[in-house]
């Protein structure tokens, strides 16, 4: 299955919505999207997982690689709208204790607006 990335920027908040699977084949697309965002000074990033069916260790590694840089610049990478199956993957390795998870995009946006 391919990965499609939908992006939407609003009031300084970038929403990245992966559609499909993030696995060893598709991870580069996901990696580049976050890398490009940071390079262009976007540090408030929401990963909308509502249409993400799977994320492998390679995809989790991308989140590990960028979170410190983004937080150092005063932003964050937050995750929202995960299915229970995808949430389990994050939870299995403890990501749910370190990253902020929100049930919907509005709550994720409010986190940045209030921040």
């Amino acid at each position: 299955m391919d990965l499609e990335l939908k992006k939407k920027e609003e009031s300084g908040i970038l929403l990245i919505k992966p559609v499909g699977r993030i696995d060893p084949i598709t991870v580069e697309v996901f990696d580049k999207a976050i890398e490009d965002a940071i390079k262009s000074g976007k540090y408030n990033i929401i990963i909308d997982c509502s249409e993400l069916s799977y994320i492998s260790s390679a995809g989790l590694g991308v989140l590990i690689g960028y979170i410190e840089e983004v937080r150092e610049k005063g932003g964050d990478i937050v995750i929202c709208c995960t299915s229970s199956e995808v949430y389990e993957i994050f939870d299995l390795l403890g990501f749910t204790k370190i990253y902020k998870f929100f049930p919907d995009t509005e709550k994720a946006r409010n986190f940045f607006r209030s921040g």
């Binding site: 060893p24 799977y54 989790l60 590694g61 590990i64 979170i67 199956e85 389990e88 299995l92 390795l93």
Partner: protein
């Protein structure tokens, strides 16, 4: 009891198929759906690790997998050539990985947490992984 043996060229594009087969096989043996899903993720991560590390990213190299569902548990054996597997000795620490921006080692940790046992060995230039999980239906 079910035994399935498959020998095939290992491509990343087969990950989803193998994972899906494993999950459905476990469900047919009354595995809890969450455990079946976790175990099938572990299978994806093992195959990814084999291609990426033992075969140094080369796809199409030979991989043998044996599924054995019996006696209240499932066991999978992966046989492959290539480089020996280096298993990190350091205890998994996500916060440390984030601080050091180290992406490696996540896949094997998923396998460790999703399975009841995990063994690696190498004999006559061939590597093998053995992973298993008991029924909790």
């Amino acid at each position: 009891m079910a035994k399935v043996y498959l020998k095939f060229p290992a491509y990343y594009s087969y990950l989803e198929i193998i994972s899906d087969f494993t999950r459905k096989l476990l469900l047919s043996f009354s595995f809890d759906s969450r455990e079946a899903r976790l175990f099938s993720w572990a299978v994806e991560e093992i195959i990814t690790n084999i291609i990426r590390h033992s075969y140094e990213g080369r796809e199409g190299e030979t991989l043998e997998i044996e599924w054995d569902v019996s006696s209240g548990k499932v066991m999978l054996i992966f046989r492959f050539e290539g480089l020996p597997v280096v298993i990190p000795e350091e205890k998994f620490n996500l916060e440390k990985k984030i601080r050091e921006k180290r992406k490696g080692g996540l896949g094997l940790e998923i396998v460790r947490r999703a399975c009841d046992f995990l063994e690696y060995g190498r004999e006559g230039g061939k590597n093998w992984w053995r992973i298993g999980k008991s029924f909790r239906s």
